[in-house]
């Protein structure tokens, strides 16, 4: 990001970040690269056990050199909703301009993403989570915010991203957004199913919900299951036609456990037992009933196979 001529004076700028894991490695990796190039300092904000960024931690972290704060609206792993609007207000009260970016991928279609309501300068999201074809996303840039261009060439997209526009996908994204507006009843249904899943699964001994209890998106429910490994659960469920994911190290190519759960204070041995459900447009009552019916048996079988420690 450049701030006209003052960029040269400000060799370092700091970015405050809460983007851990998930699809937002795009943000994380970009920051790592900027840091490696000596162009920026990155501060990672701590979170509490529900995954919330605390306002006081944010305020304390802001320095005169801070130029950008980037915070995920809804955490993709546990579903916790950040107080983006409150953060936007806090940033407006600072003595100098701090740009505010949020990734709203998991919030689109569920929460208020109006950029003025949120008080953001930049908002990004990927289209496939709202059923646009995979391979298209969007970045909202508030008027007056200057971005360094990503590619050189024919100066498409107001000179910011040269390269022939992917017209069919752009149309697909637009259509996906139109469809959201029409599907008003969907969220209530998803919320009901999610609550049912949470109520019944947490009745299984040694199963805990992760993420905030109430400030959570309607479509994500992630749990920690004691005494069981996550990938084994994912595999067993997939054999039964239920497709889930896990923050377990065994599911990652680099064998590292979920950074999200770690940041929330969960020990590695617990995060290995994580299992995540995400509900969508096609989720039906029978899907929830199937999970409720089979998951306890899967957990039981895997627990019986484990050594007593």
């Amino acid at each position: 990001m450049r701030k006209k001529k003052s960029y040269l004076k400000r060799l370092f700028f700091t970015i405050l970040l809460f983007h851990i894991n998930g699809p937002i490695s795009a943000v994380l990796e970009t920051c790592k690269r900027l840091k490696a190039l000596g162009k920026a300092e990155v501060t990672y904000l701590p979170v509490d056990s529900s995954g919330w960024v605390e306002m006081k931690d944010l305020q304390e972290a802001i320095r005169p050199e801070t130029i950008l704060v980037s915070i995920m609206y809804v955490n993709n792993e546990v579903g916790t909703i950040q107080h983006i609007r409150e953060i936007g207000s806090l940033l407006k009260r600072q003595k100098h301009k701090v740009y505010f970016h949020t990734d709203a991928t998991q919030a689109m279609g569920f929460l208020n993403c109006n950029v003025d309501f949120l008080g953001v300068d930049l908002l990004s999201f990927t289209g496939h989570k709202i059923y646009a074809p995979k391979g298209i996303g969007a970045l909202y840039i508030r008027q007056g915010v200057e971005i360094a261009r990503q590619t050189d060439g024919g100066m498409q997209e107001s000179g910011l991203r040269s390269g022939t526009e992917n017209v069919p996908y752009i149309v697909g994204l637009g259509r996906a957004v139109e469809v959201i507006k029409k599907e008003k009843g969907r969220n209530q249904k998803i919320l009901t199913y999610r609550n049912e899943l949470i109520d019944l699964l947490t009745k299984i001994p040694g199963v805990r919900l992760t993420g905030h209890k109430t400030q959570r998106s309607p479509h994500i429910a992630s749990f920690i299951v004691e005494g069981v490994e996550g990938e084994a659960m994912v595999l067993a469920l997939s054999n039964l036609g239920i497709y889930t994911s896990s923050g377990s190290a065994c599911t990652a190519n680099d064998l590292s456990p979920s950074h999200v759960l770690k940041a929330m204070g969960y020990k590695d041995e617990l995060s290995h037992g994580s299992i995540r459900f995400s509900l969508g447009r096609k989720t039906a009552k029978k899907d929830i009933e199937l999970v409720i019916k089979v998951l306890p048996k899967v957990i039981d079988r895997l627990r019986k196979m484990a050594p007593k420690l």
Binding site: A232, A236, S238, N239, A249, C250, T251, L255, E269, A306
Partner: protein, 133 residues
Amino acid sequence: MTDLFSKLYSPLVLKHFSHPKNVGEIKNADGVATVGNPVCGDVMRFYIKVGSKNGIDYIKDAKFQTLGCGAAIATSSILTQLAKGKNFSQVTKLTSKNIAETLGGLPAAKVHCSVLAYRGLMKAISNYQKNNH
């Protein structure tokens, strides 16, 4: 996702995951060993019962208990199957590579599970040898 797993795991690995052989404890085991740890996400415990044939020790029975991913369960299962009936010198010649090959291959990220299983069985044999001198 089944596609993902079938591309990730061979049919034999999937079979040993869904229907593992020799799961459980041996109550009066001749050798026991635990490898791995919950922090890493994989823990395996091997039990062996040792018999003697013509004065040579061999693995009469082997059981396992595993807390771990699909590959961890499959490798411990197949290892106990491979080990049964073999004498110690034959078991030592088995390598983690054999385990992976017998299973029809393992993804690169999962090879360490076969190594852990092999170490576990070796440790159980050592445990027996220590108690029988």
